[in-house]
């Protein structure tokens, strides 16, 4: 491949995140398809595990830095690093440079990777100007803005702009879309009662929109909200809501997997 061709199709390293890797590979494939559709070559670097955020947010800076160095070494050769999560994307983009600031060898490498790292929808819309075409989703969808993506990376308009290209889909805005769902990583197991109160209010807001599908860009929040909505449907007869990562809808790959927490 010549240099010009290489430059024409940037090489993107897809950092799947541990939750997508372990729980929902369909999101990884949807993300890969979207990135390719936007004119890039996608690679999934071997040996991905965790970005280190759970350790970082628990105050275990030594382990977090070790995992950050591993990820940086894995990702620094790509033109872009794309992450289907605002939370893990924020970890790489905002917190790796902070975490490794005192490390003379790794601080510049952390900044190099951070500057090339994008949350998926921000990358597709802002960097690649992707227009979604030939994709259908009939029905009303609503959208939850995950906190890290929203406040660390400014992800708000991008997923909505992309969703506007999906035929048949109507976006009904979620009141309190910017309020935390109560997941918070280890928070949801350390303070389950508080977390449950938060996700209960979120679920009530989601149900009140009347939307049949809830979308967001982070698996942690999605699993939390899907788990609550399903339990409410089981125990209180609440209306079922299909919960999906936004990439699955944008890629037109909904038929590849049932909604989160549902069986085939």
């Amino acid at each position: 491949m010549s240099d010009t061709q290489t430059r024409a199709r940037p090489r993107v390293g897809l950092f799947a995140t541990c939750l997508v890797d372990l729980f929902r590979p369909s999101v990884g494939f949807a993300a890969a398809k979207l990135i390719e559709d936007s004119g890039c070559d996608v690679e999934v670097p071997e040996g991905q595990t965790c970005c280190g955020q759970p350790a970082f947010n628990s105050g275990d800076n030594a382990d977090a830095a070790e995992l950050a160095r591993r990820a940086i070494a894995m990702l620094e050769g790509y033109d872009y690093v794309v992450v289907p999560s605002g939370s893990c994307g924020g970890m790489i983009r905002e917190h790796y440079p902070e975490l490794l600031a005192g490390d003379r060898e790794w601080a510049p490498r952390a900044r190099h990777v951070a500057a090339r790292t994008w949350e998926l929808t921000a990358f597709l819309h802002e960097v690649r100007g992707l227009r979604i075409e030939g994709v259908r989703h009939d029905g009303v969808v609503t959208y939850h803005d995950s906190c890290s993506g929203l406040r660390e990376l400014g992800v708000k308009a991008q997923p909505r702009a992309l969703l506007a290209g999906v035929a048949g889909a109507t976006l009904k805005e979620l009141p309190g879309a910017e309020t935390c769902c109560g997941f918070g990583g280890t928070f949801c197991v350390k303070y389950p009662e508080v977390s449950d109160k938060m996700v209960s209010e979120k679920a009530a807001d989601i149900l009140a929109t009347g939307a049949g599908t809830l979308l967001a860009g982070d698996m942690g929040c999605l699993m939390n909200m899907a788990g609550k909505l399903k339990r409410m449907a089981m125990e209180q007869g609440a209306r079922p809501v299909a919960v999906r990562h936004v990439a699955e809808v944008l890629a037109g790959m909904e038929q590849d997997a049932p909604p989160i927490g549902e069986s085939k």
């Binding site: 590979p25 890969a32 382990d63 309020t179």
Partner: protein, 476 residues
Amino acid sequence: MLATSNEFRANARVGLANPTLQSALGKMKVGFPTKRAEAVAKLPEFDALRDQARDIKNHVLENIDWYLERFERRVTEAGGHVHWARTPEEAREIVLGICRRLGARTVTKGKSMIAEEIGLNAHLEKHAIEPVETDLGEYIIQLRNESPSHIIAPAVHLTKDAIEADFRRAHSHLDARRDLTEPQSLVAEARGILRKRYFEADVGITGANFLVAETGSSVIVTNEGNGDLTQLLPKAHVVLASLEKIVPTLEDASTILRVLARSATGQEMSVYTTFSTGPKRPGDLDGPGEYHVVLLDNGRSALLGTEFQEILRCIRCGACMNHCPVYGAVGGHAYGWVYPGPMGAVLTPSLIGVENAKPLPNASTFCGKCESVCPMRIPLPKMMRHYRAREWERRLGTRVSRLALGAWAWAARRPALYRFAAARAMSALGWLGRRHGSFFNLPLASGWTATREFPAPQGRTFQDLWRERRRAGGGR
């Protein structure tokens, strides 16, 4: 005040199960943020003012010794006295000493979080001096023998009905058939009772929102005017303030005032903004005979130069707690000491020691809402994370969480092993969850599954599937 911050989780359960609190919080978490958003939308330079306000306090914190000494000189020149208190005990003794010298039997009090921090009311009562709270919210919780649950709205955890019941119980000398259904009638009743107390009081104690170094003035903002009556009528006015309340000039105080009320209640300015400089001068028509400022350190100077210095920019507007989903779920008392919400989650471990407030820096999802609304741009989540790091270093967390995280990080550094274990675990979980799509009960995640389904994995890992498909066809 004895801290129960280490019992946050149990305290939170009590709050979650309290219907009065939940009803009050439901109103609060809509009301305050809506009003703030409206006020901010009307002021295009709001974010620029936040930058200025941050810079003013940063400058003060880098030069605090100089400004404090300047403030002391100006207070003295105006005929007042500055008292330096390293600890809550010293501050209490200074206040008690002033009260005793003046033979005080009752003192009126404006709202002061420093008074809460040093446990002043209990100390005065122990020495047969009656403190009378004059801020309506503080008055209500004094009747209930409670502590404030919010730094600007101390009784925000109560509903109107609960307050009516308290008034009927405490004001039993009044006509039992009186109508107290309207908030206005509750205010009128409290005003009627407090009016006499202002004139009886020997000493008036207030807090301070600012101390102005160039003039030696203390500044309070109130909406009820109670602070003015408290500080003007008695023989002496005692200002309780912590060191970091200092600002260089009146101009600086004005800049910060422009973000304070907007952030707190959505007002452009509070109803009263009162500047006090020294005691009554010859020829003045009114004013206190003595003017004292008690400057409390209580661990603040030890924060200078550390990763926690920025919390000293806090101007106590309450915006962080008004917007915090955790505060909005559990209320202020769950935090177990004087300062609740995100600013409390940083300030409490700073003042009473992280070992006495272990859960507070952890009781956050790091959603970042607090930082996004803080008028002083304090990076609250970052500082909570610094405390988590201190807890990790000192092994203050639970053994279980430490082991679980350690095991996760250990495996995550070993990709081959991680891949092997993950593939098997997800395969098993996926198979177990294949019919229902989720788990009703998972032994290691019972906190989650008590109230939520736990979504089952799809069964294969993304990396395995990707490798397989690439090998099979070079594409998807």
